[in-house]
């Protein structure tokens, strides 16, 4: 109960923070991407409450906000895990077996792309080229790149974050 309450308070506090942040974008229809990026930096993801706030402040439709969020893989509608795993599916990684890496990550974590593990620890995403083609296939966990992967290296890497 206490935990739930804390989470709720934290959520409300972050909403407040986003509201403050958005003030500078009032009525600026063109500021959608920056606004969403900053909001996601604060909240970690973009729940409907944030989307409505952005729509209202920028004077655009909620539909346009949602459309934009779902177009860019960078934005997330769901809370992200403590460790965010992004699997590169750019050309070089792809031809060197990125899909097998991704499949192994899914089995190890028991989640699909775009989801977060129940303990809130890991979230899994696929992304376009991360510019580490020399290390293909590669993944990024938070800000660290892990390259020259094989599916069997995955469990050991995940263990580091236990």
């Amino acid at each position: 109960m206490a935990v739930a309450l804390n989470q709720q308070q934290e959520f409300t506090a972050k909403l407040k923070q986003i509201e403050e942040m958005l003030k500078k974008y009032k009525g600026q229809k063109g500021a959608l991407l920056q606004a969403l990026q900053e909001a996601q930096n604060i909240m970690g993801y973009l729940p409907i409450e944030v989307q409505e706030m952005v729509a209202e402040t920028l004077d655009i439709t909620l539909s346009e906000v949602y459309s934009t969020i779902t177009f860019y893989s960078f934005f997330s509608l769901k809370p992200k895990g403590k460790y965010q795993i992004r699997t590169c599916l750019g050309t070089a990684c792809y031809v060197r077996g990125a899909e097998k890496i991704l499949d192994r990550l899914k089995t190890e974590l028991g989640i699909e792309v775009g989801d977060t593990t129940d303990d809130g620890k890991f979230s899994l995403n696929a992304c376009r080229c991360i510019g580490a083609c020399g290390l293909a296939p590669a993944i990024i966990i938070n800000d660290e790149v892990y390259g020259r992967l094989t599916p069997d290296k995955i469990p050991d890497i995940l263990k580091k974050f236990e």
């Binding site: 409907i48 439709t61 909620l62 539909s63 949602y66 459309s67 779902t70």
Partner: protein
């Protein structure tokens, strides 16, 4: 205007310098196929059906967004162009639900027509189909994305023309789907049910909720006394479904057609439009003379009403409390008419033929049960009526002229013009003027409120009282007017707002015109012209002169705004959320 000269298919063509290649070609009689293009609404070069070769360009160019330039050389019909269009079309078809013979848009589908025109006889690219959504929870509009070609004509219409904006492309690439937020149903978001998205759809991805089954069933039920009313705008549009020109007048064919379908009584919504004027005109005078809330805003258009409830709830007190003519009619049929004729109202099945998809929603609103029953049981669109007639083998063109039944089929020209933007205002002014001045109005044509300009303003002198009026059609224009009031930039007394561009003649339930037809002629103007012709040819043209309305007050209602009127003919409104309840 600055002109440039270019060559299209070897022909020298002159075009204004801000024209596109598509426009220049069209003008020169050269047809370039289009699919996502909807003149003035959606000009985004997305579907690549209009590709052309341009000398000096590295790749094929999309003609619909390509500006002309002096000396430009364009080829619209090379092997490369034809192959490119064909491949694009086949790829579209490969992810399309090809149930054409049973599709609502069979034979009126731009994709089907293009396939024929471009000679596509096989689809060379079988492959995965994208995941489809079928949403029929809205009382008015059905979405079937298995047929969607992602042209975005509906999106542009919803956002730009109607400023409602509840559908957008969600996700990306192969997963893209045109849908409300979180892929919700249209019934869960602030959609106003106007149906303009349907009018823009080139295929069968958007359609009205079909209620014809309920009507067939009632017609076949010997226990039911089935009554029908037809809206003003139907008489200038239904003919198009039977090969008539835009705005063909079929007023007298309608009663014949509806009788042959088996309706027991064929009445006219023009009658209750006249009645609306008496109630609303009196309401306006009451507010004007007794310091009531002004400006008064008309309430005939259920799409506009829902828009106001979601987007401008601060204006709810400005809305006329008058029900729409459809609902006034419905309330009277199961009370006044049932009593007069000695019919048990529970046996009456009341149908309306409307140019409108929002009417389907309106007749189900909880406020619309004032007879003790659902006042209007089913609202059919013009298109649904056309389908019923065709199914019954009734060809409008082969029918004799007949008259509407009495007394609820008696109407004036003022009732008829409700069908065009500005019509309610004009009808009201004709009556208000004579009530106030007690003098005969000599020139009854208030031309300043007619026409397709988005916002029309006028000041009418009624015996020294200067009445400022505004008329808006299309909800983006409604916003303009409401914002002017909000910001104190205008001092209107009376505003008419219709949700659809052109008013009811351009309603979301009307015959669907393809993009070419919409480009060639302004259907709103053509149908409105016909409406005003109907008005001109009526022996009576002022609502308060309608003899059936007069006897209705004498026999039943008493007086405008009286107790019975209040109970049966007036309503109230509800503030609605702008955003869906997803939390």
């Amino acid at each position: 205007m600055d002109m440039v000269t270019l060559t299209i298919d070897g022909i020298k063509v002159q075009a204004p310098k801000d024209a596109t290649v598509l426009e220049a070609a069209r003008k020169a009689g050269i047809k370039i196929p289009t699919l996502c293009f909807l003149k003035g609404v959606n000009e985004i070069g997305a579907c690549r059906m209009c590709v052309v070769e341009v000398k000096g360009a590295k790749s094929l160019q999309t003609a619909c967004v390509l500006p002309v330039s002096d000396g430009m050389e364009v080829i619209t019909n090379s092997a490369a162009v034809r192959e490119s269009r064909k491949v694009t079309l086949e790829l579209l078809l490969s992810d399309h639900n090809l149930e054409c013979p049973t599709c609502i848009r069979n034979l009126n589908c731009e994709l089907q027509k293009l396939s024929e025109e471009l000679g596509v006889q096989a689809i060379r690219y079988p492959g995965e189909k994208s995941k489809a959504q079928y949403d029929d929870f809205s009382p008015s509009i059905v979405r079937d994305t298995s047929k969607c070609i992602l042209c975005r004509r509906c999106v542009s219409t919803c956002h730009k023309v109607q400023s409602v904006g509840v559908i957008s492309p969600n996700y990306r690439g192969f997963n893209t789907v045109i849908a409300p937020v979180y892929d919700m149903s249209l019934s869960e978001v602030s959609c106003v049910n106007c149906g303009q998205c349907i009018m823009a759809c080139p295929v069968g991805a958007l359609k009205e909720k079909d209620d014809t089954d309920k009507v067939w069933k009632a017609l076949a039920d010997p226990e039911k006394y089935v009554i029908v009313q037809t809206a003003p705008a139907i008489r200038v549009s239904l003919g198009e479904e039977f090969g008539g020109e835009l705005g063909t007048i079929v007023t007298k064919k309608l009663p014949a057609a509806l009788r042959r379908l088996g309706f027991d009584k064929v009445f006219d919504t023009d009658f209750s439009a006249d009645l609306t004027i008496l109630e609303e005109g009196s309401e306006f005078l009451d507010r004007l003379q007794n310091g009531g809330k002004l400006p008064l805003i008309t309430s005939c258009s259920p799409g506009w009403i829902k828009f106001c409830e979601h987007y401008y709830p601060e204006f709810l007190d400005n809305l006329s409390t008058c029900k729409s003519p459809q609902q006034m009619f419905g309330a009277l049929v199961k009370t006044y008419y049932a009593e007069k004729m000695g019919i048990d109202p529970s046996k009456i099945f009341s149908v309306s033929i409307m140019p409108c998809t929002a009417k389907k929603y309106e007749c189900k609103r909880p406020e619309m049960f004032s007879s003790g029953y659902q006042d209007v049981d089913v609202a059919l669109t013009t298109r649904e009526l056309s389908r019923m007639l065709k199914e019954a083998g009734i060809n409008l063109n082969n029918l004799p002229d007949e008259e509407f039944d009495e007394p609820l089929g008696i109407s004036t020209g003022a009732g008829a013009i409700f069908g065009a933007t500005g019509g309610v205002m004009e009808a009201a002014l004709r009556t208000v003027y004579e009530i106030v001045t007690k003098k005969e109005l000599k020139n009854i044509d208030f031309t300043e409120v007619r026409g397709v300009e988005g916002v029309k303003e006028a000041t009418i002198d009624i015996d020294g009282i200067k009445v400022n009026v505004a008329v808006a059609h299309g909800l983006s224009n409604a916003r303009v007017v409401l914002d002017r009031v909000k910001n104190g930039e205008a001092n209107y007394h009376f505003i008419e707002i219709m949700a659809c561009p052109g008013g009811c003649v351009g309603g979301g339930g009307q015959p669907i015109l393809n993009a070419d037809e919409r480009w060639e002629a302004d259907y709103r103007e053509e149908r409105a012209k016909a409406i005003y012709e109907v008005d001109r040819n009526m022996p009576l043209r002022k609502s308060h002169e309608n003899p059936a309305v007069k006897s209705l007050y004498k026999e039943f209602l008493g007086e405008p705004l009286g107790e019975k009127s209040h109970k049966l003919l007036h309503t109230h409104y509800t503030k609605r959320e702008l955003y869906p309840a997803t939390k």
